[in-house]
């Protein structure tokens, strides 16, 4: 007869507690999106319905517009970041650069200093040159912030590709650009894809910079969520939050397919 493993008792207890800590708040959010009526001390909403969803997505609601703005900004941010990060990452991983370590650290600067004072001053500067409240201004702020992911992951992705393969291509007559395009780039593609998704999500979720540089003319989903939440409209805020949550969780579930351990271990080196 199989002996019952008594260790499952503490294991189940800890895992159950962890599950509650992680999924409790999340299920709370989902409940709020479909709660028509919910007040203390009822554990669950008294009435369920989708009327708030209708309101959010109605032609007069501004969620669709914010969603579109958010996606346009995130897509432009990805294109600009990759255009900057692919050459930089290649140079940092393959070519000899003076002060390579310092250059890598330079990209960390936007993450290594509190951003708020910087955004405040960018907003002031953008205001003078007419970039405040424009999509272009917001994209520039998002690119600067996302570059560390783009450059570091691109550098790690290129480092994880075997140099010999590129040299083999060169030795049978491929030019440096061809060798890069046909050998190194495809092999690094999963890592680059990961960095693109990172940058996309960073931009989609960014609040502080958009709050100073974009508002009130550019309303992204996070700004809509903030406005609805501070107006006490928890249903609208929760629906917006859920819209932001879906891509984040989707990425979390697939991140390891793109970011393998061999790339991950080279990040920041």
């Amino acid at each position: 007869m199989a002996r019952i493993d008594l260790w499952w008792l503490p294991r189940a207890l800890v895992l159950g507690l962890l599950a509650f800590i992680i999924f409790g708040p999340l299920s709370n959010l989902v409940l709020w999106t479909i709660a028509e009526k919910w007040y203390f001390p009822h554990m669950l909403p008294l009435e369920y319905g989708l009327s708030f969803w209708q309101r959010v997505f109605s032609p007069r609601g501004n969620a669709m517009e914010s969603l579109l703005t958010s996606i346009v900004i995130a897509a432009l941010t990805v294109i600009a970041s990759l255009a900057l990060a692919i050459p930089a990452g290649y140079a940092l991983s393959r070519l000899t650069l003076p002060f390579r370590g310092l250059i890598l650290l330079a990209f960390l600067i936007p993450q290594a200093f509190p951003n708020l004072p910087v955004y405040v001053n960018i907003a002031r500067f953008f205001y003078q040159i007419g970039l405040n409240g424009t999509i272009a201004g917001v994209v520039m702020v998002h690119v600067t912030h996302g570059l560390v992911y783009a450059v570091w992951i691109a550098t790690a992705a290129f480092s994880a590709v075997d140099v010999d393969l590129e040299e083999a291509a060169r030795s049978i007559g491929a030019g440096p650009f061809h060798a890069f395009r046909d050998v190194t780039l495809p092999l690094a593609a999963p890592g680059l894809m990961a960095s693109a998704i990172f940058v996309f999500l960073e931009s989609l979720d960014e609040f502080t910079g958009t709050y100073f540089v974009g508002a009130p003319d550019v309303t992204t989903l996070p700004l809509l969520l903030y406005t609805a939440g501070s107006g006490g409209n928890y249903q609208i805020a929760s629906i917006t939050a859920l819209l932001l949550l879906v891509p984040s969780i989707g990425f979390m579930l697939i991140v390891e397919r793109f970011l393998r351990a061999d790339v991950l271990s080279k990040v920041g080196h």
Partner: protein, 273 residues
């Protein structure tokens, strides 16, 4: 020589972006902190300390407590994922821990605001389970709410780094220690932890800095005084248009972070040498 020039040219556009849109405004904020009505002086700082010195301590305590908790949880989870003996429990934990990782701070703020409130779902559940009476419930929407939100959101990120570093360790020393009868806790602390300390440090410092600059969570969970410096900066700008004090507060939070960044720089220099 030509190759070196090419390398510099490839990196340059990205570097210019950082200089133009981060380092220059950062510099402007440092200069702006000393500008009082057209002349240079320390007026903004005296005003900052007068009005917000309790918020400075509040910020530092919250971020430090959160960082310590994040370190503790990430090492525990990473340690179990590396040294655990039950594949099914490990798989469950691996599946569980990472859910909050990419959830944006603004969503975390909204989620926690409704979950931790005095009449939020957490207290409602405890009341219906009979663990609390409605009169005993307390809201967590103060410093505790901010710490919970930070730890909830940042632990998976640090754990991902830590567990990745632990997984790529050489297993032979671990197996040797286990064969000699060392307990798993002792292996974790004495053998695994020293080898992944650099990675843990990087993760914690990045989290520290991130938490120092999050605006949405303090605004949504605890906007009344005492609050975090980020909320004060936003308030100075939006309510008073007072860039001087806002920049001074920015510089102060920068100095608080500089301590953490210094540790990181020393770590990475040591690693590269």
């Amino acid at each position: 020589m030509q190759k070196r020039l090419l390398a510099i040219l490839l990196v340059l556009p990205a570097l210019i972006m950082i200089v133009l849109f981060f380092i220059v405004p950062l510099f402007a904020s440092v200069v702006g902190a000393f500008e009082v009505g057209g002349t240079m002086g320390l007026g903004n700082f005296t005003k900052s300390f007068e009005l917000y010195s309790s918020d400075m301590i509040f910020t530092l305590v919250i971020v430090t407590v959160s960082t310590v908790l994040i370190g503790l949880f990430s090492v525990s989870i990473g340690g179990y994922l590396t040294l655990g003996e039950n594949p099914r429990a490990m798989a469950a934990l691996r599946w569980l821990y990472r859910w909050p990782m990419f959830i944006p701070f603004i969503v975390v703020g909204q989620v926690m605001r409704t979950f931790l409130a005095k009449n939020g779902l957490m207290n409602n559940i405890l009341v219906s389970l009979g663990l609390l009476t409605p009169l005993q419930t307390v809201g967590f929407l103060d410093w505790r709410g901010i710490v919970i939100a930070f730890v909830w959101k940042q632990t998976p990120f640090v754990t991902l780094l830590v567990a990745g570093a632990m997984a790529s360790l050489d297993r032979s020393t671990i197996e040797a220690a286990r064969n000699l009868g060392a307990s798993r806790l002792r292996i974790l602390i004495e053998i695994v932890l020293p080898q992944i300390a650099a990675t843990l440090m990087v993760g914690l410092i990045l989290s520290f800095v991130t938490m120092m600059s999050v605006l949405s969570v303090p605004l949504m969970i605890n906007a009344q005084s005492p609050t975090m410096l980020t909320a004060d900066i936003a308030f100075r700008i939006n309510a008073h248009g007072d860039y001087g004090v806002a920049n001074a507060l920015g510089l102060i939070s920068l100095l608080l972070t500089a301590g953490a960044a210094l540790i990181y720089l020393r770590q990475s220099v040591k690693e590269r040498s």
